[in-house]
């Protein structure tokens, strides 16, 4: 019997090819979308769960008043925890990140230096936190002895090829030799702890002339990532809650209130964005929810289509049902037949869907700029979902024919070979639902896309095109003047500035800033940067009062005192402020130009820096950070002042037609002055665009899925219009015989589906407007949701729907009426 069911199911599939294709393809696409998105979300949520006992591992993060969360802790935190919670904590490990250039003297590229950003000084115990797997050598002493080095397998390959690197040496910037102690397996992609090299904290102490056996005493320096592993049976939350109180015994009470340390579960790190100084960029939980719900909705749409079409098609088979009943079929047997058919059709969709997942996966992962596998056959919850989709949608698709049609009286069915549509209201509301959802997605994708374009192209307040940034190391800083003048003379170079922070990217640092006669409420809201003379002129930022730094004036101040023999105190600095900072001063009723400024950092009542000066100029506001952030009040100090050189980068403005050849020229000029030091450059506009990569990805992904949803909705509409055209074949035939025109029939048939689509738009628009207004809240600079978005979305949905429906209506309207009437 089952064989018979399957046979007829197969023949029905073949007989109604287009219908079946629409049906199967729609569900397959929906399923593939869902599986891709769900496995992406699962991947993001799987971060840092591979370490042993990862639920007992926490990072010490801090909440900073008025500023939010920070991923780093000060060097004094780990010793404090060791002393206070030694009994409850199994491991307490700090890491210090640096970037450096490495060269393998006895490796495969002995001449070349490579920039390494993921170089850490780690304390012993890190192997237990990160779950390191040693491939070669041994970790014994690797985190205790100075100048030892552990590197990952991929870096070992890069520097030493297939040779065993253990015992070999890597030279870091400043000819510091590190001896390789061990090679460890690369951590999987789903960890926030991305590292390439690990050395010991004792190396850091050695290089910084810090006593080997002393603990770090500052909550500011060095900045560390600190991890703890809580002993089994201990309550992490209780420990976390006690830290601020205990911190008060080690630190000025006022500071303790502003900087609250707490334990953050490592599994949550990747899913909480917006942490200052984060190790690797996380992802917003909200974004994941959006993706997951898009996946869910696409699948839902596809299922609705499947059910809708299967139901519509079943009506065409009423005759068969009647015949079978007359021939002795029991209701149960008919139900079994229809359910078997639904399960079979659905199985095709599943298989096709899985094939689609395989095909689309590379595109999908490259869109996300990630590499992960869709764990189709290994993940039990995904398998569960696939099976659930199969069973539920099959049941729903089979239920209507199985329960409704099988119960009809055969003489009635057999008499009415022309079936009225039936349940039109339900089917139309499903069309409304589908188009509302797909229009909503199209709308959101449109806004996200425009917002991204807007961010990329809008004015940052300075001319950010044609700028090159070059990293400055100690060697380059020692030769900064000859470097600048040599580079300035190269063809294609307009100007060169030595500065601390790349404009449009980095806000600067946040010490305490005081203006004379001004009370500042928010402690950390004023940024400080170091710039050199003519910087604003070269940047294209206007000086609106006073002047900018100039060699004609003595802006560099003088050192009046070395505090505790170590930290300089400066007086008489020239200071430039931006408009926002000037506004704070003006608000307090003080004169801006000439006002005294004090910039200082202190810890437990000890001053670590104390710079005093007077405002010599005000520049107009420009975006020192990306456009997502509002312009912050900023104070600019001379880069080369009486105490130090604050420069980190060279900013080179290039003229028109700058090309690769000129970069080579710059490189040569650079290496003539400081041979062997890499010319580490990047284009500023590209780096700025990088900032919006997340928005670009979200936009692209939304766009792709919006198109797919629209496609699925259209497939559904196509199926329904085929169905309507068929059930109305006789009516159309009669109308034509009576003289109806083709256009008349097309418009009559099309109207039936266009009205629901218009209704869907009316639902989608306010919802989309609300959602996207919320989304845009996070940006300081945002695009206006104008009438154009509504028009474009509306047109897209309507045109797609209209084409779909008209195609079928046209076919129905132009067919020969004689054939359609004479069906009996």
């Amino acid at each position: 019997m089952l064989k018979n069911y399957l046979k007829i199911a197969w023949r029905t599939l073949l007989r109604q090819r287009i219908f079946s294709l629409i049906n199967v393809l729609g569900l397959a696409i929906g399923l593939a979308c869902f599986l891709l998105l769900a496995s992406y979300v699962k991947f993001e949520q799987s971060y840092d769960s591979f370490q042993e006992d990862s639920d007992r591992i926490f990072r010490v993060s801090q909440h900073v008043r008025d500023f939010g969360n920070s991923a780093w802790a000060g060097g004094a935190v780990a010793p404090m925890l060791r002393k206070e919670f030694g009994e409850q904590l199994e491991e307490i490990v700090s890491l210090i990140q640096i970037n450096t250039y490495l060269k393998s003297v006895d490796g495969i590229n002995p001449e070349e230096s490579f920039r390494e950003d993921y170089f850490f000084y780690a304390e012993p115990g890190f192997e237990n936190i990160a779950g390191l797997k040693v491939l070669q050598g041994s970790l014994k002493g690797a985190f205790d002895d100075p100048f030892s080095l552990v590197l990952t397998r991929s870096k070992a390959k890069h520097y030493f090829g297939d040779e065993n690197p253990v015992g070999k040496v890597l030279l870091a910037t400043g000819d510091i030799a590190f001896e390789v102690k061990a090679v460890v397996e690369d951590l999987p992609a789903n960890t926030h702890m991305k590292f390439d090299f690990l050395s010991s904290v004792s190396t850091f102490k050695n290089l910084n002339n810090f006593p080997q056996n002393a603990d770090f005493g500052s909550f500011w320096w060095p900045q560390t990532f600190t991890y703890v592993k809580v002993k089994e049976g201990q309550n992490a939350q209780a420990i976390s809650d006690r830290i601020p109180e205990i911190n008060g015994n080690y630190r000025d009470p006022a500071e303790t209130k502003n900087y609250q340390y707490y334990l953050q579960p490592i599994q949550s790190i990747h899913l909480q964005s917006g942490f200052g100084g984060e190790w690797t960029a996380g992802v917003d939980q909200k974004t994941l929810w959006i993706f997951l719900s898009i996946g869910g909705f696409v699948l839902l749409l596809a299922c609705i289509n499947f059910i809708n079409l299967a139901t519509a098609r079943a009506i065409r088979r009423m005759k068969e049902i009647g015949v079978r009943k007359v021939n002795g079929a029991k209701r149960g047997q008919l139900m079994a037949q229809f359910l078997a058919e639904a399960f079979l059709t659905n199985a095709f969709a599943l298989v096709l869907g899985l094939i689609l997942v395989g095909l689309a996966q590379p595109i999908f992962t490259s869109m996300l700029d990630l590499s992960f596998e869709v764990p189709l056959f290994s993940d039990s919850s995904l398998i569960g979902i696939v099976l659930a989709v199969w069973i539920i949608s099959s049941l729903l698709a089979g239920v209507f024919p199985a329960f409704y049609l099988s119960g009809l009286r055969p003489d009635v069915i057999l008499k009415n070979s022309q079936i009225s549509g039936g349940k039109a209201l339900l089917r139309k509301s499903l069309v409304v639902f589908q188009f509302a959802l797909s229009s909503l997605l199209v709308f959101c994708a449109g806004v996200a896309y425009m917002q991204h374009t807007f961010l990329r192209t809008s004015d940052m307040g300075f001319d950010h095109q044609g700028l090159l940034t070059v990293k400055l190391g100690n060697a380059a800083k020692a030769q900064i003047e000859p470097l600048k003048s040599s580079l300035e003379q190269q063809s294609g170079v307009v100007s060169v500035n030595a500065i601390s922070n790349a404009p449009g990217l980095e806000g600067g640092w946040n010490p305490s800033v005081a203006f004379r006669g001004v009370e500042i409420e928010e402690a950390f809201s004023i940024y400080v940067q170091y710039v050199d003379e003519s910087y604003f002129e070269n940047l294209g930022v206007e000086v609106i009062a006073g002047r900018e730094f100039s060699l004609d004036f003595q802006d560099q101040g003088e050192v009046t005192e070395m505090m505790r023999g170590q930290f300089p105190k400066m007086e008489n600095l020239g200071v430039v402020v931006n408009e926002s900072a000037a506004a704070i001063i003006a608000q307090a009723g003080q004169e801006t130009l000439g006002n005294a400024v004090r910039i200082y950092t202190d810890e437990n009542g000890n001053l670590f820096s104390d710079y005093n000066g007077n405002i010599v100029g005000v520049v107009e506001d420009y975006h020192t950070q990306d456009l997502k952030t509002t312009i912050k009040p900023t104070v600019f100090l001379p880069v080369k002042n009486a105490a130090f050189d604050g420069s980190n980068i060279l900013l080179i403005r290039t003229g028109n037609g700058f090309d690769e050849a000129q970069i080579t020229q710059l490189k040569n000029a650079w290496n003539q002055i400081i041979p062997g030091i890499p010319f580490d450059y990047s284009f500023l506009d590209e780096r700025i665009a990088q900032n919006y990569a997340q928005e670009a990805r979200t936009g692209n992904l939304l766009g792709a899925f919006a198109i797919l949803t629209l496609l699925i909705s259209c497939l559904g509409l196509l199926g329904l219009s085929i169905f309507t055209a068929e059930t109305k074949r006789k009516e159309i035939g009669i109308r034509k015989v009576l003289g109806a025109s083709v256009q008349g029939i097309i418009s009559q048939l099309s109207k039936e589906f266009i009205y629901p689509v218009i209704l869907a738009l009316l639902i989608a628009f306010p919802l989309g407007f609300y959602l996207m207004s919320q989304w845009l809240e996070q940006f300081a600079t945002k695009v206006n949701i104008s009438i154009g978005f509504f028009l474009a979305t509306g047109m897209t949905s309507l045109v797609f729907a209209w084409l779909t429906v008209t195609w079928q209506s046209w076919k129905a309207a132009t067919s020969n009426p004689v054939k359609s009437i004479k069906s009996e």
Binding site: I8, R11, V323, R324, L414, E824
Partner: protein, 224 residues
């Protein structure tokens, strides 16, 4: 074999009952070949459906043998339906997705006939109706007359005691119609009770009894 007592069938409209059948009393003996005639709307098909238990929405009593159909349990009725009745339609009503062979097999499947027995029954039928060569064709590939032969083969496959045919030749031209009626005659000779509804007087000549219906009532009832 069949006894109908005071069968009424009507449609409730807003102001009145419209009777399709009114006060039908009819006894049919085993082995009869009965023809129902009458103009369109006289109630031929309705009566046939009631006799065939396809329509259970009527007033009156219906005895099949000794049993009152209306007092039977669903299951009993369904079994009776399966074992005793065969149906033939004007529009053939073959299942388009099934081959000739499979169409004939359908009722046997629903009767849970064993596979080997099915094969021999179908082989006999195909042979008898000269359709062996066409057993793997689909209905759309057959002429109307051939389709109706398949319809008949299917109807008799389950060895029913009663064959119901509603305008069996309505869609056929006269040569084909003649052929079908000859098949009926043969089945009748073998002992099958047949009730047919038709417009064509010449078809009645194959039967043994002719009932004329008019406006839902029996107008005349004659033995031929």
């Amino acid at each position: 074999m069949i006894q109908l007592k005071e069968i009424d069938k009507y449609i409730e409209s807003r102001f009145q009952r419209i009777f399709i059948l009114k006060g039908i009393n009819l006894t049919i003996q085993q082995g009869e070949f009965l023809t129902l005639m009458g103009p369109s709307g006289a109630g031929k098909s309705t009566l046939l459906n009631i006799i065939g238990m396809l329509d259970e929405d009527y007033d009156g009593e219906y005895f099949f043998g000794e049993k009152n159909i209306r007092k039977m349990k669903d299951k009993e009725r369904s079994n009776l339906h399966k074992s005793e009745f065969g149906y033939i339609f004007q529009a053939y009503h073959l299942i388009d997705e099934l081959t000739v062979y499979e169409n004939i097999e359908t009722p046997l499947l629903y009767r849970n006939v064993a596979s080997s027995e099915r094969k021999s029954i179908i082989a006999d039928l195909l042979d008898r109706f000269n359709m062996v060569a066409k057993k793997d064709l689909f209905p759309a590939q057959l002429s109307g007359g051939q389709q109706q032969l398949v319809g008949i083969a299917r109807a008799v496959a389950g060895r029913p005691s009663l064959l119901l045919a509603d305008e069996p030749t309505g869609n056929l031209h006269s040569t084909q119609a003649k052929e079908i009626m000859e098949v009926f005659q043969e089945l009748h000779k073998e002992g099958t009770t047949i009730i047919q509804a038709t417009h064509a007087r010449e078809n009645a000549d194959y039967g043994t009894r002719l009932i004329n219906l008019l406006d839902g009532k029996i107008e005349s009832d004659e033995q031929l």
